[in-house]
């Protein structure tokens, strides 16, 4: 009888392994967890899109729970996302900061004039240094910061109504 049970070991191992692999199929291999969750927003000194003489630092993002949205005029998905950001800024009053990523100032200004400006201000990160410190690998990306400027959540991709209500808003409320 005991020997019979031993015969089942490979089957059990195969089943357990299969279960793990089956679960693995549901994971998104492109999903890259942020290494900065729970850490302060990287230090920076940047001008803004609107004001090239401005000297903004990470302290400008502190004070209340906020969103930092990484965008660029060359980013097609950003245009798709834009109306939702405008709506979020207008209806919820949550401050949205922009990080204009590897872009040119005239184009960025034209974009904001044309599609409305949901941002308190947009940091102008022309060479992508701050984006790199933040671990950005593609726009749009959106970060939730708590009132102390600690990164609490990262979302990669286009925010739409559904994602805002079911994924990001609950997270914002958690830190408010």
């Amino acid at each position: 009888m005991k020997r019979r049970l031993i015969l089942f070991i490979p089957l059990i191992v195969a089943l357990v392994l299969g279960l793990f692999l089956w679960q693995g199929l549901k994971l998104d291999p492109r999903e890259l967890p942020s290494a900065l969750i729970g850490k302060p927003f990287p230090e920076f000194t940047l001008s803004t899109v609107q004001d090239k003489n401005a000297q903004m630092t990470q302290d400008a993002l502190k004070g209340q729970v906020s969103l930092v949205n990484v965008w660029a005029t060359w980013c097609v998905s950003c245009r798709q996302e834009h109306p939702e950001l405008v709506r979020i800024a207008k209806e919820t009053g949550i401050p949205v900061f922009g990080l204009n990523y590897k872009d040119t100032r005239p184009e960025a200004i034209r974009w904001l004039d044309e599609y409305l400006d949901p941002y308190q201000f947009s940091l102008f990160d022309a060479d992508g240094r701050v984006g790199l410190d933040l671990g950005v690998y593609g726009a749009p990306e959106t970060y939730i910061l708590d009132k102390d400027g600690i990164i609490r959540y990262r979302f990669v991709g286009v925010i739409d109504r559904n994602i805002w209500l079911n994924e990001l808003l609950p997270e914002v409320n958690k830190w408010r």
Binding site: R3, I6, L7, I9, P10, V13, L17, P29, R30, L32, P33, S34, A35, L36, K102, G128, L132, D133, L134, G135, V136, Y137, G138
Partner: protein, 163 residues
């Protein structure tokens, strides 16, 4: 005016060839200068072991993604600022997580990944050994179960059959 179809075809082929080569040239040329050969070698090693965050199956030396180009530039900059390899790797991991390493580090999260296959081989070997031993034991037992008289009878039967 009638167009000579052969000329037309040749021109298209030339155009296509030119277009193909143009993209090829654009993809591979990236001017990078190094202070010395040692730095170049370290650069190549680092760009080989670092993974492009945007594209899961390419290292940053292979990838054409803009983010890979940024990381190459960053590696180049850090090398010339005099950082050792492990600090450059730490710099990348601090920003992009362990994802950026092609070879994941050994820690409590990755024990299964690193040692799982070896454990499976050991389990397999144990099962095989147990099965083989079981078979040997059972055949051994059968032999000893036969009495001398039975063996005699069996031999006779076999002999009859052969004749």
């Amino acid at each position: 005016m009638a167009i000579n179809p052969l000329v037309h075809w040749r021109q298209s082929l030339l155009a296509i060839t030119l277009v193909l080569f143009a993209s090829l040239a654009q993809a591979t040329i990236e001017a990078m200068e190094f202070r010395d050969e040692g730095l170049r070698e370290r650069y190549q090693h680092l760009a080989f072991i670092l993974r492009c965050p945007k594209c899961q199956n390419q290292n940053i030396i292979d990838s054409d993604a803009p983010i890979a180009a940024d990381l190459r530039k960053q590696v180049h900059r850090l090398l010339h600022e005099g950082y050792p390899d492990d600090q450059i790797i730490d710099f990348m991991v601090a920003r992009y997580g362990n994802f950026v390493l092609y070879e994941p580090p050994v820690n409590s999260l990755t024990y299964l990944l690193w040692y799982g296959p070896a454990v499976l081989v050991v389990i397999g070997a144990i099962v095989v050994i147990l099965l083989l031993r079981g078979r040997k034991n059972s055949t051994g037992k059968q032999e000893s179960d036969i009495s001398e008289a039975d063996r005699e009878r069996l031999n006779n039967l076999l002999k009859d059959k052969r004749n």
